[in-house]
Homo-oligomer: 269 residues x 2
């Protein structure tokens, strides 16, 4: 199988994201490799050995997605037996012209600490953990958003992703079986009604997930899952709580939709 | 201030990552806007209104980073009073030639669910939460990596990031004051010594973080922080536990270094 390399003098996250987006357009498979922190000519030589080896193994030149500003490192990478794609290069000259500014070659630190925004993120992670799963109902004043939904509808991963990626403080509160008879917004959530964002999920998918955790339980039964989903969706509609069905969405998509619908400000960047 | 827009018919994460990497080369500031899920011509018209408004406000054309495959949507975006950068376009034709394959225009789902890999991630998040901060010492068999370090050295955010981004199961175990006299690898961690990865942090930074949580405590004192850091670093060296100093690094960098040093396989993609 042909290899694709994502390499950088930093985390290589940008190379990875870009390379994956591009390769996903092609109906074929690749062996993916990430080489991060190629900050010295020694590291570049090591990378070259791996890349050349992959080319020989596949009998086809590896694809290498990179952007290096250090000339010595760039030269070593360019000497690889591979096809190179510098994903920023085609845009630098047009942008220089548009902005009437020279690009400042610098070691890449796109995914490095951005002082203030970083503390926001760590604080938001701590907040999400302390306010996970209804564990603390006295802290909602501080929340940017409060995710609600039945157990296993995706609240916890979404709250953590909002915190880690965007520095957003997301609490989450589960509606449980006890709440289901005459489901209402709990009294302690009422003052924060505007912060509520509902998650829902198809009953069949919910059953599958719960079955994996508690096989043959009432909790995982078709009847219970259908009832819970029906009740929370009724609540969202009656109370005009914005909500999304998470069944077919990744945590990236769920959180992007939450941001887009709430207009919440992200702290990253 | 000039505006930069990251827009897409999906999460727009790829546009964002790419656009930020590119703009970070220029020594000037931008107002950043993300518009996700532009999946219809109506949404495209709404985006156009926002973009044109930003151009008028700044007196300079907004920069728009995008990739649209739907022609109707693309035409609307291209009619904006803005400078457009399609970040995949320059690479599609060269790659088509190199791969001898036609790119398949499709709606972008780079950050959507990838079936199996998605379950890995949710499972890994559950694992990280259940095995946070030494809360469960009987589960280390299942761990891909066990992060160790003093309190507030970055273990929890790193473990969660490894789970959410890469589907890697990371437990974390804190060395506390009680362990410090004659610091050793705890007995229950010994069978998993090869999975240990140490975090450390500069004593001054540790003091600042702890001071923010427990002001004027022994826990946050200079003497205590220096002693703990000294002891764990000694342990890492004596026991040959790989470790990194997290002081100047973001969670993306810490985890990229952990992946790079351990060679752990990521499950994403």
């Amino acid at each position: 199988m042909r290899s694709a390399f994502y390499i950088s003098d930093g985390t290589a996250i940008t190379s990875e994201v870009f390379g994956h987006a591009l390769l996903s357009l092609f109906p074929t498979e690749f062996e993916h490799h990430t080489i991060s922190f190629v900050e010295s000519t020694e590291k570049a030589q090591e990378a070259k050995i791996r890349i050349d080896k992959a080319t020989r193994r596949a009998g086809k030149p590896a694809l290498v997605f990179h952007t290096f500003v250090n000339n010595d490192i760039r030269e070593i990478i360019e000497s690889c037996d591979a096809v190179l794609y510098d994903f920023l290069e085609p845009f630098v000259a047009p942008l220089e012209q548009e902005l009437a500014l020279k690009a400042k070659p610098k070691t890449h630190r796109t995914h490095s600490i951005h002082e203030k925004t970083y503390d926001y993120r760590i604080e938001a992670v701590n907040y999400a953990l302390a306010n996970d799963d209804g564990s603390n109902i006295n802290n909602y004043e501080e929340a940017d958003v409060i995710l609600v939904g039945v157990s296993r509808s995706g609240k916890t991963p979404s709250a953590l992703y909002l915190a880690l990626q965007y520095g957003i403080k997301a609490a989450n509160y589960p509606f449980t079986d006890d709440d289901m008879e005459e489901l209402k917004i709990p009294v302690f959530l009422m003052p924060f009604k505007k912060k509520l964002f509902g998650l829902t999920i198809n009953a069949q998918r919910l059953m599958d997930i719960r079955e994996g955790r508690m096989s043959n339980s009432k909790y995982a039964s078709a009847r219970q899952c259908r009832m819970e989903v029906r009740e929370v969706e009724k609540l969202y509609k009656n109370e005009k709580i914005p909500f999304i069905n998470t069944t077919k969405f990744s945590v990236e998509e769920i959180t992007a939709k939450i941001l887009s619908e709430t207009g919440l400000q992200r702290y990253k960047y």
